[in-house]
């Protein structure tokens, strides 16, 4: 327990403290920030509203809604997105929020699986994440997650693709710099799923990973893959203390 805590703080000590780190939101133009802040103009709120309706809709052979098991999301889901990914006993591996929603669907609702980037799954994930708005990221302290975080860090620091760049080259060493018109953010996963103007729709964090990997002309991993879960665990511990802001808006 002590050792784990020491390792975790040790890992965090190498990066800036929460006060020094800047989210993608803080690096955006005032126009985009205003768009995100105003619930009427934030396009992600459409998905949140859809997710709220799905929360109460019975699904699958079990005929159960999320609310039948979890009650009101405002209480039961508060802060959940801020501590995911979490350990899943049955599969003996971590799951992220989209994975957990998928497992509730197949295990408890006895309903068919949804694709991770499908509209209903993004809607439910946006609705659940919204219940953590303003909550500081607090990574799950289960020690079984630590080796995964280490794997994620290694991935983040490994050069790849035809352009031979690591995530860290851009997001640690050149955050705030400009890649043509784009300001390079620090890559904090505070606002997912998020609405990207370039996508013209909502997308998950793993889709963003795929974009960056394709950008360096590397072969992306699959959404939901162990590699992306490991990256997500590492980025969440790197972002510990920063406040959740889903559904974020990004250029």
């Amino acid at each position: 327990m002590m050792l784990r805590a020491a390792l975790l703080t040790g890992a965090l000590a190498t990066v800036a403290t929460a006060e020094e780190r800047r989210t993608g939101y803080e690096m955006m133009s005032p126009d985009l920030r205003a768009m995100q802040d105003d619930e009427m103009s934030n396009p992600g709120m459409l998905w949140v509203a859809e997710g709220a309706a799905l929360w109460d809709t019975p699904e699958g052979e079990a005929g159960l809604s999320c609310a039948d098991c979890h009650g009101g999301a405002e209480q039961s889901m508060a802060g959940v997105a801020a501590r995911y990914p979490a350990w899943d006993e049955d599969s003996g591996a971590p799951v992220d929020l989209a994975g957990r929603i998928g497992l509730c669907r197949t295990r408890h609702q006895n309903a068919g699986a949804w694709d991770r980037e499908s509209r209903p799954l993004l809607a439910l994930a946006a609705f659940v994440s919204r219940q953590s708005k303003g909550v500081p990221i607090t990574p799950d302290s289960d020690p079984r997650l630590d080796p995964w975080r280490d794997t994620g860090r290694v991935l983040f620091e490994t050069r790849m693709g035809q352009l031979n760049l690591a995530c860290a080259n851009c997001h640690d060493d050149h955050a705030g710099g400009h890649l043509a018109a784009a300001t390079i953010p620090e890559a904090h996963p505070t606002g997912y799923p998020q609405y990207r103007l370039q996508w013209e729709e909502m997308g998950g964090l793993h889709r963003r990973f795929g974009n960056c990997m394709a950008g360096v002309r590397a072969e992306p991993f699959a959404s939901g893959s162990p590699e992306y879960i490991a990256l997500e665990l590492f980025l969440m511990s790197r972002a510990a203390g920063l406040e959740m802001e889903a559904p974020a808006v990004r250029p």
Binding site: Q162, A180, R217
Partner: protein
């Protein structure tokens, strides 16, 4: 393919020589600065302006991760320019500038890009000829 391999060998030799550069052209056809100009401005192909500013009035948003290329033809010789475009790791092992004509040590390259270098030998010669022509200030 064979060309890329022979080029990788050339870098292995150039490595210890460091900043001295690659004096021999990679092809028999002299580089064409106007083709090189077009390649440098092509954000999908060469990506140069993603990271570098320079005397490129056509490009509204120029990157700032690398040095401004204005006047680079005064600062660096042709062999030095060629070496940097072929593989900047020979000059700075930690560089973020992609290796434009080397397959050395690349990992997890996307299926679409496997076994190919970012620029062909002729494109490198064209780009280098263009860079060498960038003399003087930005007026």
């Amino acid at each position: 393919m064979g060309r890329a391999l022979s080029c990788a060998a050339a870098i292995a030799i150039a490595g210890p020589l460091g900043a001295q550069g690659l004096p021999d052209p990679l092809t028999d056809v002299p580089g064409d600065p106007s083709r090189g100009h077009a390649i440098v401005l092509d954000q999908q192909k060469s990506l140069c302006v993603l990271c570098h500013a320079g005397p490129f009035a056509e490009v509204p948003f120029q990157g700032d991760l690398g040095p401004d290329l204005t006047g680079v033809g005064d600062r660096l010789s042709l062999p030095e320019l060629r070496l940097r475009v072929v593989d900047s790791r020979s000059v700075n092992p930690d560089t973020i500038m992609p290796p434009f004509h080397s397959l050395d040590g690349l990992a997890r390259v996307g299926a679409r890009w496997q076994g190919t270098t970012i620029l062909t030998a002729q494109e490198v010669e064209d780009v280098v000829a263009y860079l060498a022509s960038l003399k003087g200030g930005s007026e």
